[in-house]
């Protein structure tokens, strides 16, 4: 991993089009600004990882719920 030291208002260029700017450092929190072309998506890594884990969990599903299982749990069937 490339490691660089930056101060607030200083930037890093990734390629020619992606600019990452340190906006503010306050205690443990760092505010970062990202300028990227419209075809580049930017997400918090933990959101991405949450979905990745959920996708993996979903593929280990053995079988879909049966209709009986669905019907029993509806309120209309209880009354």
């Amino acid at each position: 991993m490339l490691v660089l030291t930056r101060k607030p208002d200083q930037s890093i260029m990734v390629g020619n089009e992606i600019e990452i700017t340190v906006l503010e450092v306050r205690g443990e929190q760092v505010r970062i600004g990202i300028r990227a072309p419209r075809n580049v998506t930017v997400h918090r890594k933990e959101v991405f990882e949450q979905i990745l884990i959920e996708n993996r969990n979903a593929t280990s599903t053995e079988s879909l719920p049966t209709l009986e299982e669905l019907i029993v749990s509806l309120p209309s069937a209880k009354s």
Partner: protein, 192 residues
């Protein structure tokens, strides 16, 4: 600019329910149809060999998150009474995701997707789309199943190209309890 998805439609499923009418879908087509219909055949761990019209194949050019090699899929409906289906990978025989249309368990799901994603999928305001949530069904407790509304699957029904998008609404998570939200939907429908 972002796009709100509130007009999902259309059905592009391969029915494999075990009845006479759908057996025709699984069999080799009549010779006279062979030239006009283009078919794909794929072996799958869960369903054996599937054969379907090329028109039913959905392409996710980037794959799904964490599954970048899975780009081509079929929506397989084992039971036409059930709202749940499988998104079966044609590239990895063992990979299949249980899916459901979010409208099945809630009426108000209208995710906002990034402009980037809308453009990637060539979506205009009136483009017919398919919208699916991936479902996780716990082994011992099928009614505890959850649906991922943070990262739904959006498909342009005209190009049949799709993407797993990360929606911009903070209220959606990866674990919506399907049966509980369905109960709320049913109750509010009765109250109305």
């Amino acid at each position: 600019m972002a796009m709100i998805l509130d007009n999902p439609v259309t059905d592009l499923s391969l029915d494999i329910a075990q009845d006479a009418s759908s057996e025709a879908d699984m069999s080799v087509p009549h010779p006279e149809n062979r030239e006009t219909r283009s078919l794909v055949t794929a072996f799958t761990t869960r369903f054996g060999t599937l054969e379907a019209d090329e028109e039913l194949v959905l392409t996710f050019p980037d794959g799904l998150i964490g599954f970048d090699r899975c780009k081509r899929f079929l929506v397989v409906r084992p039971d036409d009474q059930s709202p749940f289906r499988w998104l079966q990978s044609l590239d990895e025989p063992s990979v299949a995701f249980p899916i459901v249309e979010p409208a099945y368990f809630r009426n108000d799901y209208a995710p906002t997707i990034a402009d980037t994603d809308a453009r990637y999928l060539q979506l205009e305001a009136d483009t017919p789309t398919l919208l699916f949530a991936i479902v996780t069904v716990p082994r011992q407790n099928p009614r505890g199943m959850t649906a991922n509304l943070l990262g739904p699957l959006v498909v342009n029904a005209l190009t049949r190209q799709g993407k797993q998008v990360i929606v911009q609404n903070p209220e959606y998570t990866t674990k919506h309890r399907v049966m509980e939200e369905l109960s709320l939907k049913v109750e509010s429908a009765r109250a109305a």
